[in-house]
């Protein structure tokens, strides 16, 4: 499962990241790294881009990059 598969309001923990593109690395610099809990807030019309939040900060991210973030659903659901 990847970040792109979450439903609005769902939380998950990032498990692994494919770092082969620069765009993904830039998202990591904003704090989307392995081990962190993220919450998918909602998407724009058409389901892309997505708004995810990490430690209370919202970040806009395109689906294409979201697919590079593998996740495990967090125990607390969300």
């Amino acid at each position: 499962m990847t970040l792109a598969d979450l439903k609005p309001g769902q939380s998950a923990r990032i498990e692994a990241i494919d770092t082969s593109t620069a765009a993904v690395v830039r998202l990591m610099v904003l704090g989307l790294v392995e081990g962190v809990d993220v919450r998918f807030q909602h998407a724009a019309i058409g389901g892309d881009p997505l708004e995810v939040s990490v430690y209370g900060s919202s970040i806009s991210i395109r689906k294409e990059q979201a697919r590079q973030f593998r996740i495990a659903e967090s125990p607390d659901g969300g």
Binding site: P8, I17, T19, A22, A23, V24, V25, R26, L27, M28, V29, L30, G31, V33, E34, G35, V36, Q41, H42, A43, A44, I45, G46, D48, P49, E51, V54, Y55, G56, S57, S58, I59, S60, I61, R62, Q65
Partner: protein, 720 residues
């Protein structure tokens, strides 16, 4: 202006007035409250806030700390030291002392939003590698309190190597006294030898720095290691040899991209610190938090965006009218008074027809411009512009750009100049240039006068379904501008500016009630810039246009009424007007118009229209005033009489000049043409070459001409 205002000086003078005293850089994430804090500390009145691009002007100010004073530099917000966009690059360059004539800062005031410490502490850890005296201002303490967040300051300070940390609220002023004290003793504060988040990197870089014999500082080595292929990397390889650099890199980062490893390592550390030093007492989900969540859902958000846009344009037209009428009446009254009082000699004509009419015709738009800017500033200060970028990313992607281009394009409805400066946040140069070239197509406030005049004169004021035909035409012109900009971006992005698909990642600030003081300061700033422009550029253009229309004079015999009393001249107004028209016909401007007339006849323009359009090239705002002069209604006519003159104007063979197709074509011309020297100059400055401004000007003029030609010819063919 505070009492220390005189210490501040414009960015342009930094090189000149640079004194030995070194300064402290104010640095932090975007939206961390940096500018607000800077304003609080310096009392320097200047533009603040997250309007992208504005802080790229180096804001320097002096903070009064009681017994001493320090100079502060406000830098653009950044998340890391990689410098992707022009804005970020400047911040990094200043921090590392790479800006000519500007020594590296003597200390750092790192601004960390206490509700977004996660990203703030990441940047702080990178900054500690600079080994400068550093302190932290934890801003937005009021917001943190309301959100149930609290910080264990001693614990946090210990993890940061003992540097001073002050909790402040820049809006309420809470904690400012402690902050000032800490700033006063900052120079004697020793930075920690190594930040704790990634000691392996710090130590490794220190060793390599030692091997260069101190030629490269630790931070230079780190920048080189982290950014393969960059300038710092090349410098590092020159100093140590490629082999040594490669093996250090392998050791530190393995096979992953260096910045990814840095993010993993430092953020893991930040997570540990937050777990230890920040506490969250969940409060009941408040009503407005739930409301915000609902509003942010896709459909409500998108519909809301369009509603905001409609409200904005509605406001610009309906709220501004009364104020504009007042200014209009005042300007023409003043002009009339000058003519009555001083007769119609050269000097009086210069003042009345040149200065008052020319500048007045521009100042009339101050209310509209301020209302537009009020909306843009409020939208931006409340964090809404970033939302607009998020919502519109999809649309922008279809023309090869990203949501980040939306913010400049929205500002462009007010004026293209600040909009072009706002493109500095766009990381990719190609995307940035495509946005810069698309922005001037948006209908800026300077295009409104000519639209208003021609629509009122030639479009029937009748209802079409629920709408008014005049309103629809105006709306269509706005759409035409938007379409022109988007098509241009699309064409450029698939030809000259072809490049990798633009990325879109953006931190979305939460909604915040705009700070009244910030909004007021920024609005005043806009008004000042506009009035200054009216007083300089527009003034100059008006004077030149006046002179071109006034000289050479008709021969004396042709002016029998010259010495006649003013009252008599007014009584025989048509004769005087006729004479003015004759004068114009043989003036320099008229001659230019007549010699270029063949070029414009296919658009249905006679030499008079052509003259007005030529006069409008430096600043399109003046065109209505010029038409006023040209159509012999003088400076004192109101719009209605000008409209009726236009309606009556004929070709020598008696055909009407201003037919509906011709007027529509002319509006289309104005919608698409780049008639603004300030925009051209700004494009030149921002792209650092003459190539793009020349291209933009030629391209837009040709497109405007062809479109006007098509509208006129088709229209005349369909409606003979």
């Amino acid at each position: 202006m505070g009492e220390h205002g005189e210490f501040g000086f414009p960015a342009s003078q930094i090189g000149i007035r640079r004194r030995a005293r070194s300064s402290i850089a104010v640095i932090g994430n975007p939206n961390s409250g940096k500018s607000t804090l800077f304003n609080r500390l310096t009392g320097l009145r200047q533009t603040t806030g997250n309007y992208p691009g504005v802080t790229v002007e180096k804001h320097v100010g002096v903070a009064d700390l009681g017994t001493s004073a320090v100079e502060l530099i406000d830098l653009p917000g950044i998340y890391c030291l990689s410098g992707e966009s022009a804005d970020e690059q400047i911040a990094v360059d200043v921090l590392l002392g790479r800006v000519p004539d500007m020594p590296a800062p003597a200390g750092l005031l790192v601004v960390v939003d206490s509700t977004h410490m996660y990203q703030g502490l990441y940047l702080l850890e990178q900054l500690l590698e600079l080994r400068l005296p550093t302190m932290v201002a934890l801003t937005m303490s009021d917001v943190a309190l309301a959100a149930g967040l609290s910080v264990d300051l001693p614990a946090l300070q210990a993890r940061l190597g003992g540097i001073p940390v002050c909790e402040v609220s820049a809006t309420s002023g809470h904690g400012m006294e402690e902050l000032r004290q800490a700033l006063a003793s900052l120079s004697s504060t020793a930075p920690p030898a190594y930040p704790q988040s990634w000691p392996e990197l710090s130590r490794g870089a220190e060793i390599l720095s030692g091997r260069t014999g101190g030629g490269l500082a630790r931070i230079d080595v780190i920048q080189g290691l982290l950014h393969p292929g960059s300038d710092p990397d090349r410098v590092l390889c020159d100093a140590l040899g490629e082999e040594a650099v490669r093996s250090s890199r392998d050791e530190l980062f393995g096979s992953a991209p260096p910045q990814a490893v840095e993010a993993r390592t430092r953020y893991r550390w930040v997570q540990g610190v937050l777990a230890q030093a920040q506490f969250h007492t969940p409060l009941l989900a408040r009503m407005n938090a739930r409301l915000v969540r609902w509003i942010n859902r896709p459909w409500p958000a998108t519909l809301g965006f369009f509603a905001v846009m409609v409200l904005m344009f509605q406001a610009v037209f309906s709220w501004a009218t009364p104020l504009m009428d007042v200014i209009d009446v005042a300007a023409s009254g003043l002009g009339q008074w000058v003519t009555l009082r001083f007769g119609d000699g050269v000097a009086s004509s210069f003042v009345a027809d040149g200065v008052i009419a020319g500048v007045g015709s521009v100042i009339v738009f101050l209310p509209q411009i301020l209302i537009l800017f009020l909306f843009i500033i409020v939208l931006e200060d409340s964090g809404y512009l970033a939302r607009a970028a998020f919502l519109m990313d999809r649309l922008m992607r279809s023309v090869g750009l990203s949501g980040q281009s939306v913010i400049p394009m929205l500002s462009s409805f007010a004026c293209a100049v600040p909009a072009i400066m706002a493109t500095r946040v766009i990381p990719d140069r190609r995307d940035r240039i495509a946005t810069i070239l698309a922005a001037p197509f948006m209908t800026c406030s300077a295009r409104l006068p000519i639209y208003a005049l021609l629509i009122a004169a030639f479009v029937p004021n009748q209802a079409v379904g629920w709408f008014n035909l005049q309103g629809l035409v105006l709306f269509g012109l706005y759409l035409l501008g938007i379409a022109g900009g988007l098509v241009t971006a699309r064409l450029l992005k698939s030809s000259a500016l072809k490049g990798p698909k633009p990325q879109f990642m953006l931190a979305l600030p939460e909604f915040r009630w705009p700070n009244l003081q910030t909004v007021a300061i920024k609005l005043m700033d806009r008004a000042r810039i506009f009035l200054k422009r009216a007083g300089t550029v527009i003034f100059a253009v008006a004077v030149v246009v006046w002179a071109l229309a006034y000289f050479p004079r008709l021969d004396a015999p042709a002016l029998p009424a010259e010495r006649a009393p003013v009252a008599a001249a007014q009584a025989s107004a048509p004769a005087a007007d006729q004479q003015a028209a004759n004068q114009l016909a043989q003036s320099w401007l008229g001659r230019a118009g007549r010699s270029l007339e063949p070029l414009f006849t296919p658009l249905g323009w006679d030499w008079r229209v052509a003259s007005a359009v030529i006069a409008g090239f430096p600043a399109r705002e003046v065109v209505v005033a010029v038409m006023g002069t040209i159509y012999a209604v003088g400076s004192n006519a109101d719009e209605a009489s000008l409209a009726s003159r236009l309606r009556a104007a004929t070709w020598p063979d008696g055909r009407l000049i201003f037919t509906l197709p011709m007027a529509l074509g002319m509006m289309v011309f104005y919608a698409l043409c780049l008639q603004c020297a300030a925009t051209v100059a700004t494009i030149r400055r921002e792209t650092n070459s003459w190539r793009w401004p020349l291209f933009a000007w030629t391209y837009m003029t040709v497109v405007a001409y062809l479109a006007a030609l098509m509208v006129y010819q088709l229209g005349t063919f369909l409606v003979p």
